[in-house]
Every structure is written in structure tokens, then in C-alpha cells.
């Protein structure tokens, strides 16, 4: 019954904009990181269980798919961190004009990419 009523906003009618894409990206990265914290707990539990359990988890983390996931996880983490700080600034009704929102969006994208690359340069160097 409720499903027959029109729902808003009808996302398929909108051209993607930096604001809407980053807003959805914040949710998507948040959901991804929520899965990540379960991975963190699993990793800690495996270390508490014993060496063989820990070796199994470490082998997955350091496999090629595991390393790719770790790289993506850091990108997702830095994006959610930077955009989260942007949200905290907005909560104080700062940087809330349309130009500021766009400038902030590009700063967040640039900073999260730079932090991700910087971290991996630090790790691998």
C-alpha cells in the first residue's frame, strides 16, 4: 500500500552532481568501514586464539586480493574521515554556502587521495 505512493527524491531523474555523489559516497564508505571493523575484530580474535589462526588471517590479508582490499580500505577510510570532518564543520553552520560546499568537496577528494597515497608511500618505502 505504502509502496504505491510516490517516493521522493526520484534519484534516477537527477544528473549526478559532486554534492549528491559525495553524499552517497559517505554512506557507501561508512557501510564499507562497518564491514571493516568486523574484520578488525576477526583479526584480533585470531591473534588471541593462537599462532595458526593468526597466520591464516594474515595470509588472507597479505594475499594479492587482500592487499588490494587493504589499499581500497585506506582510500575509503580517508574519504570517510575527511568528509566526516566536513560534516562536523557543517554542523557548526560553517562553510555552508554553495561555493564553499563545492570547494570543500574538492578539498576532501584531493586530501583523501593524497593521504592514501602518502600512507602507502610511507608503508612501502
Amino acid at each position: 500500500m505504502a509502496s504505491l505512493r510516490p517516493k521522493s527524491p526520484n534519484m534516477q531523474n537527477y544528473r549526478p552532481q559532486l554534492t549528491s555523489v559525495m553524499s552517497f559516497g559517505h554512506r557507501l564508505s561508512g557501510a564499507t568501514l562497518a564491514v571493516g571493523v568486523f574484520g578488525l575484530s576477526t583479526w584480533l580474535v585470531s591473534a588471541a586464539v593462537g599462532p595458526s589462526a593468526f597466520e591464516t588471517v594474515q595470509a588472507i590479508v597479505f594475499s594479492v586480493p587482500g592487499r588490494s582490499l587493504m589499499f581500497l580500505a585506506t582510500l575509503v577510510f580517508f574519504y570517510h574521515l575527511c568528509n566526516g570532518i566536513r560534516h562536523l564543520i557543517w554542523d557548526n553552520v560553517q562553510a555552508f554556502s554553495l561555493p564553499s560546499i563545492y570547494i570543500g568537496g574538492w578539498i576532501v577528494l584531493g586530501t583523501s587521495l593524497a593521504l592514501t597515497l602518502g600512507l602507502w608511500i610511507w608503508v612501502l618505502a
Binding site: 568486523f38 575484530s41 584480533l44 580474535v45 588471541a48 585506506t74 574521515l81 566526516g84 570532518i85 610511507w122
Partner: protein
């Protein structure tokens, strides 16, 4: 209101029982408070991992033997799982329109609580055992 009459739309009686009334502020504040806590805690954790704190079991055990590291790890787990539970709940509220919504929200709370407890107990065991 007399017997046989239904509440008109837009009255408090029509809205009662259909959603949060007065609980939203607490949720909002808890999300921001956990977010603020996670800024230094996650950066500390990522920096520690990048600094080879846990390349193998011996180094992870040695790292968590330090009370400061164990405490920060537990604080990170509490803040992260709390923040995750709050965020996932909003997604369920926004996207699940069926009767499964209540069950899904309850499941989110339980699973996040379980994940936090598992991580905290594991941290304590590693810290004490080594």
C-alpha cells in the same frame, strides 16, 4: 475524540507509534561524539600499523602489552562499533520499508555489540597473555 472516529492526518495521535519523537537528538549527538573520538583513534591505529606495530603475532602481542596501546585499542573498538551501529541504523531506517525494518535494526545492534565485545576480549587476552 468520540468512539468510531479516526484521528485526522497531521495530529499527534496520527503520528504516535510511527517513529522517533524526541530520540533523534540523542542519536545525532552520539553519532557526532563517536565521530570526534574516531578522528584521533583511527589515525593513531593506522599510523601504528604503518609503523609495523603488527606485522606478526610477536610484534602485535608486544604492542598490545603496553597499557596505553591496549586502552586506545579498546576505545577504538567501542567508538567504531558504536558509530557503525548508529550509521547502519539510519541506512536501515531510510531504505528498508517493510516490516523487516525492526528486525534488521535489532540485528544491527546485536551484531555490532557482539563484534565490539569480541574485539575487546581478544585485545585483553593478547595484552595479558603475552
Amino acid at each position: 475524540m468520540g468512539a468510531g472516529m479516526t484521528a485526522p492526518r497531521g495530529t499527534p495521535a496520527a503520528a504516535r507509534g510511527l517513529g522517533a519523537a524526541g530520540h533523534g537528538t540523542g542519536h545525532w549527538l552520539a553519532q557526532r561524539a563517536s565521530a570526534l573520538a574516531l578522528v584521533p583513534l583511527t589515525l593513531w591505529f593506522v599510523a601504528a600499523l604503518a609503523n609495523d606495530a603488527a606485522t606478526d603475532l610477536a610484534s602485535l602481542s608486544a604492542w598490545l602489552t603496553s597499557p596505553i596501546n591496549a586502552i586506545l585499542m579498546i576505545l577504538l573498538l567501542i567508538a567504531a562499533f558504536h558509530h557503525a551501529a548508529l550509521g547502519l541504523r539510519v541506512m536501515a531506517e531510510d531504505y528498508v520499508h517493510s516490516r523487516a525494518r525492526f528486525a534488521i535494526i535489532a540485528l544491527i545492534q546485536l551484531v555490532c555489540f557482539g563484534g565490539a565485545v569480541a574485539g575487546i576480549v581478544a585485545t585483553l587476552l593478547i595484552a595479558i597473555d603475552s
